[in-house]
Amino acid sequence: MTGQTPPFELPPELAIDTDVARRVIGGFIRGQLQQAGFERVVLGLSGGVDSALVAYLVAEAVGPQALLCVLMPYRTSSPDSRTDAEAVAADIRCASESVDISPIVDGYFDSAGVAGGAGGVDASALRRGNFMARARMAVLYDRSVTWRGLVVGTGNKTESLIGYTTIFGDNACAFNPVGDLYKSQVRQLALAVGVPESIVRKAPSADLWPGQTDEMEGGFSYPLLDRLLFWRVDKRRSTEELVELGFDLGLVERVDRMVAGAEFKRQVPPIAKLGPRTAGVDYLYPRRRPGSTAR
């Protein structure tokens, strides 16, 4: 299925005004920093289009000198990813550094009793992938202290909706400027802000094992999935209406299940209601308010 899909296709109903998007996102990034009392940003740069786009947007909003890009390869990560990430950091002229997460991940899975012996041979790709994502999160939050910057999120709306994220891993951040953009829109905006075309057009991959691509794993192309989610979520179309629009019934039902199953990843965990006022229930404040930046 992915074989017949061109690497970048923008469904017309998903096309956004990229000038307005840049204005809004630039103001959003500056607002988040100002309200939190920070001037700098830390970003995990993978070599993929999502984190590359955010790097360009942050540099555009607050200047490249405020941005630290951290490359966090694992020993099986694609060398091409690293080359692409380095090209982005060089083009932006921001600070960048590389932290090899192999010792962290291997150290854990090599530990006695963790995953059936040395090398963690029994650990599934899912376990290893999730652990890698959380190791990267831990590195970014540590660097946020030394760099004195906020961790910026780079997850897009498509992966958030279908749950193609690791909770408390790649979805952990202080704020996310692109989380309301579908993958196709991320690519459209990436081209507009100057992300190298090779990065925009390459097949998206979580890069958890060699040759992995999102689209092969999910069994559908991003333009198709983005369109389906757009009509379902943003335009509130019923299953019958989606089928009339030409979507396959089986795909609609499958994606519905994925979206419903990932609801927990998009929300703050519930706290048992016991006292008179409970955070997130009936104690409701904006996360930044007068006094909150005093440290």
Binding site: D17, D19, Y283, P286, P290
Partner: protein, 296 residues
């Protein structure tokens, strides 16, 4: 006549900082020769207050409000804040300050509590809609944001004598579909309805919308002044802060109302009769003529 639109980004929950900014902008506008200065909805407090609302609320006898009013000698200004009534209800209020006095207070009538809005949870809705005479020489009608998404508001204000309809807003922008005029769905909708109101009420429409960011929400600005013909006189840029001065000719109101006497031909008594019937039918006090099966 010169109108100054203060398209600002208030600091969320920081009443003192916002008050200082209002004082400063009033003086700037005065120096620029403005007769009327308009600030956005909740310009004194920020929008997404949640439980902060009670902490930044002011009674109408609050000395800080009196001090702000005192800064309007020789001026008219519209400012907006959280008003706490004597019985401790919180309202989103817009006040017309003139010549040192609080001339009129409008409490937001329609509190959106759907989609990204949750106003009814934190605020009480106003019950009164009045146009007021002003030192500017004609009637003024105040409305706050969502009030303008209800046809009755501009109509009643115009019938009550308003010749300039002032809407102050904290309108969050959404929908960046490339097909939208100016690239923003919210701006397209607002422009359409404001031009329609200006033409149908043959009044000036003045719209002051904030900019800046509260949490996830970005406010889009795009403040406007629209002539009684429905033609825009001025459109402020989207998302930029600024104090924008716009000159209008009040004689345009008379010209348009003579040429297009829509307000003369309005029939409020007939509206009242039909509305009375609809209210009675909805309450089950009369047979529903359009839906005979309706529960009574």
């Amino acid at each position: 006549m010169r109108i100054a639109l203060a398209q600002i980004a208030p600091r969320l929950g920081d009443l003192e900082a916002n008050l200082a900014r209002h004082h400063l902008l009033l003086e700037t506008a005065r120096a620029d020769g403005a007769a009327l200065v308009v600030f956005p909805e909740l310009g004194l407090t920020g929008y997404l207050l949640q439980d902060l609302a009670s902490e930044v609320a002011m009674r109408l006898d609050d000395p800080r409000l009196a001090e702000l009013a005192a800064a309007t000698r020789g001026l008219s200004a519209v400012v907006s804040f959280v008003e706490e009534s004597i019985d401790h209800r919180l309202f989103i209020a817009a006040a017309l300050l003139e010549d040192g006095q609080i001339r009129h207070v409008h409490r937001k009538l329609f509190l959106p509590t759907y989609g990204l809005f949750d106003e009814r949870r934190f605020f009480a809705a106003g019950d009164v809609l009045r146009a007021v005479p002003s030192r500017l020489g004609f009637g003024v009608g105040l409305a706050v944001c969502e009030d303008f998404w209800h046809l009755t508001v501009p109509q009643i204000l115009a019938l009550d004598g308003a010749q300039i309809l002032i809407n102050v807003s904290s309108s969050p922008g959404k929908d960046l579909a490339a097909t939208n005029e100016v690239g923003l769905g919210t701006a397209t909708s607002w422009r359409l309805l404001m031009r329609t109101y200006a033409q149908l009420t043959t009044s000036f429409v003045v719209f002051c919308n904030r900019v800046g960011v509260d949490e996830s929400i970005s406010f889009w600005g795009g403040s406007e002044v629209i002539a009684p013909t429905g033609a825009p006189v001025f459109s402020a840029p989207l998302y930029d802060e600024g104090l924008f001065c716009v000159d209008i000719n009040p004689a345009d109101i008379r010209r348009e109302r003579i040429g297009l006497p829509l307000l003369r031909d309005e029939r409020p008594e007939f509206q009242l009769r039909e509305l009375g019937r609809i209210v009675a039918e909805r309450a089950g006090l009369a047979e529903d003529t359009t839906d005979p099966g309706a529960t009574r």
